[in-house]
């Protein structure tokens, strides 16, 4: 039997949540792989990202076809437009976890097998937890159509930014000689990728807020 327009909208909604769940897993795995220097897990992240990319393309195609067939308006139009952008943020997050996995790969090389300072490990754990929480909130706001939760995301991202600055300071002040350069740069890059994953959650929150309220000003305000 032919699916109705609203059934197709629900299907897209479910697809976004499934894609989000894959990205959540990738973010979790990337912090674990980084902290444990787990190259097997890093390879899994790189492989699993293909599924995220497949979701990106299939959801985008569904959005285009649905808009062409039904010319939606109002909340349905805002939903499809927002989903088309949200999946790009999720796809970008997937790419960033792949970047972290590649850092883990590089760190596994003999010359870069160094121990991380305990303080930096603590900060990376904290940052990873916050980034995971931000993504979970962004997806929850999307799932439950929760504008209040979506609007809180920007504020929680400030803490992530602050931790990243602290990691940078600690890394570059603890660097001892030229040998450390590659190691320090890789850890700095990994923390930067995590911070950008947090930014993407904020972007998703803004899109959810626009889809729910129709208010474009959310893209101009400092959230």
């Amino acid at each position: 039997m032919r699916k109705t327009f609203h059934e197709k909208l629900n299907e897209i909604n479910e697809d976004v949540l499934a894609m989000g769940s894959l990205v959540q897993e990738a973010v979790h795995n990337s912090t674990e792989a980084l902290l444990r220097r787990d190259t097997q897990l890093a390879e899994k992240i790189i492989k699993d990202d293909e599924r995220v990319n497949e979701y990106d393309i299939s959801i985008e195609e569904k959005c285009i076809v649905l808009q062409a067939e039904h010319q939606p308006v109002a909340v349905d139009l805002r939903f499809l437009h927002s989903v088309s952008i949200i999946i790009k943020h999720l796809e970008r997050m997937g790419d960033l976890t792949v970047n972290i996995a590649k850092v883990v790969r590089r760190l596994s090389r003999e010359e870069e097998k160094k121990h991380l300072d305990k303080d930096i490990i603590g900060l990376l754990v904290e940052m990873g937890n916050l980034v995971k929480l931000e993504l979970a909130r962004a997806l929850e706001a999307f799932k439950n159509k929760d504008a209040k939760l979506a609007s809180k995301l920007g504020k929680s991202d400030d803490a992530v930014d602050e931790i990243q600055k602290m990691i940078f300071r600690k890394l570059f002040t603890s660097q001892k000689g030229e040998k450390d350069i590659k190691f320090v740069t890789n850890i700095a890059l990994a923390s930067r990728y995590l911070e950008r994953i947090g930014d993407q959650s904020v972007n998703i929150g803004e899109r959810v807020l626009y889809f729910l309220t129709g208010d474009y000003s959310v893209f101009h305000d400092d959230m």
Partner: protein, 259 residues
């Protein structure tokens, strides 16, 4: 009254006998803009636009309450000259309804009713009206053939030209493209857009996308219970109505969740 308000509707209601069809409609219709009236079938959209040229007067048991002013003059006042009013307000219907006469006679019929014109003046009116209706190039060599030989889209543009020939200021359109193919529909929509430079246009349409494409303002009428009259639920800029309507009932209707 603001200079750009052409029509002012205040506490308007409409009855067929004892049955109230429309209730308490208040809205300002802006000059040189296209205002779309949308709503489910049977909610009184056509009845509403027929109010502006008092076509509903032809129904013996009908009654109007409230006030409708055009250029500041209440059109339901006792001494209103309805013939003059209908000269000022032309109407285009769902199905093209050319007279079974030549293209030329269709255009000159209205002007001849209102005044005596020279042959030269009438020829000028025919050419001017057909040009404004974007039909001149297609019919200039067959002005004296039957209008019934034209295609549906051409006939509808001829009907629009007929309205333009009598120097109307307001054009009422009751689903003007609903019986036309997509190309003819596009021509009519393009024409409507051009005409707004010189006319105030009110269009009833069932086609949400058409309302979104052609109009600048949109009014949503709705009968919420079968024994109640329709009311104006929302009236706002078309962009607002179709991207972020202010009323949940409007959103439910335009997104197909009811109606």
């Amino acid at each position: 009254m603001s200079n750009n308000i052409k029509i002012k509707v205040k506490n308007y209601g409409f009855y067929y006998g004892q049955i109230k069809i429309l209730s308490d409609i208040t809205m300002d219709i802006e000059q040189n803009k296209i205002t779309a009236i949308i709503g489910p079938s049977g909610c009184g959209k056509s009845t509403f636009i027929r109010t502006f040229n008092r076509m509903n007067d032809l129904i013996a048991s009908s009654k109007v309450t409230g006030e409708i002013s055009i250029d500041g003059i209440n059109i339901y006042k006792n001494n209103m000259d309805v013939v003059e009013l209908r000269k000022k307000i032309g109407m285009v219907f769902q199905r093209p309804n050319p007279f079974p006469k030549t293209i030329y006679d269709n255009i000159t019929y209205g002007p001849r009713l209102h005044a005596r014109y020279s042959k030269q003046k009438l020829e000028h009116i025919v050419e001017d009206s057909l040009k404004k209706a974007a039909l001149w190039d297609e019919v200039k060599n067959k002005l004296h053939t039957s209008a019934l030989k034209l295609s549906g889209g051409q006939q509808q543009r001829l009907c629009i030209a007929r309205v333009l020939a009598v120097d109307s200021e307001i054009i009422l359109m009751d689903e003007p493209a609903s019986s036309l193919d997509p190309i003819s529909t596009q021509k009519i929509e393009d024409l409507i857009d051009e005409l707004k430079e010189n006319y105030t246009i009110i269009i009833v349409t069932h086609n949400m996308q058409q309302a979104a494409r052609v109009s600048q303002k949109t009014a949503f009428l709705l009968t919420e219970k079968s024994d109640e009259p329709a009311r104006l639920i929302e009236y706002d800029d078309t962009n607002k109505i179709f991207t972020n309507p202010g009323d949940k009932r409007t959103e439910n209707y335009i997104t197909g969740r009811f109606g």
